[in-house]
Symmetry: C2
Subunit: 337 residues, 2 copies
């Protein structure tokens, strides 16, 4: 039975959505879930659910990493945190995968150093799925695990992201693109121009550069970039969405007619919000570590946690890491270049 | 009298909005405008307006740079384009400033090499103003004039952007921030960490790093970044806005009640679109060249052109370049480092 370790103390509302989402996952998917954290708090939440026939267990952890903790300090000083304990469960094969909606930077550090990286992987990378205008999903890799990436790192991100996309979204030949400032091969900075040139030679369905304007269009499946760019790109997207929501709310409330319109269309807004809700896609996996590690949004609700557990199980079942290792080790990508 | 050369052939709908916007600017602001381009086309548009008492002249140019032209090729092969002729008018002091809604890359190349850069400026940079949730304006510099910027370049962008903000938006001590992946000084890549350290020593109101999520919040006035990042950030923002509009339209049309809401709130949507319309801010100046060069959006309407002409006149009147040269030459920024 596939076993998933859930960091019950990670998210903004922990442990409630973590516990509820884990119970849902155990019930609907028949998985074994280990809830890691402060036992009293987890048990108080578990008491709200019927656990009959479910494989849900509590694994104690004394400490909790806060959202405001520095990743490096949290890694060094909070060895008994729920994130550390969950990662050690994976390292010692007591769990197949780890899910956390906690401090993303800290979780990446913990996963990277407790689990270690795969032999052929130079740097693990965060793969962030998001919905597109066409109704599909595009994955951006690296969403912020690394900065100052070199050419070889981006090539590895492309290979890992493509495998993940195939496994989770079932596309046989995902379209892989490079985030840049123009579609032509000649557009970009030193890094992307060299990466473009090298991506052409890999056995991927590489479709060339993609500009920022097209990221949400759904025209490609996997978008490759350095983690500094990826972090800025995703966070600015969140900022724009908040900005538009604020402007729209103000505009719609400014006249009687549009107030009526606002009330009438409220259910449509709810659907809209669901549409841009990342929780359906089950969080962002940190690809390239030994084991499976999924980072959820801090605001994850129970549904988001359930989906993250589901994705963790699917990646385990599909032997993602064996595939990554097999494909990367057979490719002519000089590490560190 | 301040004289502005307008590239009449630049935008997607040229020369109609260029001519109308120039006539409006001449009438409302008492400026002299030189409309540069194919005379027959410009005159056909001019015939739609009353020019009595206005200082609007036509300067012929035989060629036109297309949106699809490569900037380098357009610069070399279309020496008689309206953009080239307009830039030469500025170079030869027959005009104070140049406005174009054409191919941004080509215009930057033409402006940079026909006008030349100021003695203390290493690289000109594009300063892009945009509206914020607080109702103010934030300027992002560099929005895409350069890639692979070095530390000294970003320091110069900060100084130039701050002067521009003071001149156009009247803020005495604009807040200057560095775009990065975390607020703390320790967050960023090699470039931004070094720039952060050096910005602290400049006589600017430097407020530290800003994350992508905060870019549209209005918490700072000037945001400094490399042009690759700036281009991706602004284009992805456009893409998110389009994406949200598409999702919202679909959601609002899906039920009868929300259809009614949609109709009733249509005027509110128009106001919303006006609110996120960049045209109010008069285009993006390329800072650091000899003379004033303003790049408008390809979709600029007459109002956008008028505002770009107004901003061009204000920057001329305020002796922007003298200020930039004076401040940069007095600062301890080693060029090219």
């Amino acid at each position: 039975m596939i076993t998933i370790a859930v960091d019950a103390m990670g998210g903004d509302l922990a442990p409630r959505p973590e516990v509820e989402g884990s119970v849902l996952a155990a019930r609907e998917l028949g998985l074994r879930v280990l809830l890691v954290g402060i036992p009293a708090e987890i048990k108080r939440e578990l008491a709200r659910h019927s656990l009959r026939g479910l494989s849900v267990e509590v694994v104690p952890a004394r400490d909790v990493i806060a959202m405001s903790d520095s990743p490096a300090q949290a890694f060094r000083r909070k060895k008994d945190s729920s994130a550390h304990v969950a990662a050690r469960l994976v390292r010692h094969r007591q769990a197949d995968a780890l899910v956390s909606a906690g401090n993303t930077g800290a979780l990446m550090t913990v996963a990277r150093f407790v689990l270690g990286t795969l032999p052929s992987v130079q740097r693990p990378a965060l793969a962030a799925p998001f919905p597109t205008s066409r109704g599909g999903v595009t994955v951006l890799i690296d969403a912020g695990a690394n900065v100052d990436s070199k050419v070889g790192h981006l090539l590895q991100f492309a290979v890992m992201g493509e495998i993940y996309y195939r496994v989770i979204f079932g596309t046989r030949r995902p379209k892989v693109a490079l985030l840049s400032i123009g579609e032509e091969e000649s557009k970009g900075n030193e890094l992307t121009k060299e990466v473009y040139n090298r991506l052409k030679d890999l056995p991927l369905n590489f479709v060339g550069n993609i500009e920022g304007r097209e990221v949400f269009s759904g025209s490609v499946d996997v978008i490759v970039c350095d983690g500094f760019i990826g972090n800025v790109a995703l966070k600015i997207s969140e900022g724009v969405a908040q900005h538009i929501a604020a402007v729209l709310k103000k505009a719609l409330k400014s006249t009687i007619a549009s107030q009526v319109g606002y009330v009438l269309s409220r259910s449509a807004y709810r659907e809209f919000r669901r549409n841009i809700d990342y929780s359906e896609y089950g969080g962002a996996p940190l690809l390239g570590v030994r084991g499976v590690a999924i980072v959820g949004h801090g605001r994850s609700n129970a549904n988001a946690i359930k989906n993250a557990v589901r994705v963790a199980a699917e990646l385990t079942h599909a032997q993602l890491n064996e595939r990554i290792e097999r494909e990367l080790s057979s490719l002519p990508i000089a590490v560190g270049t």
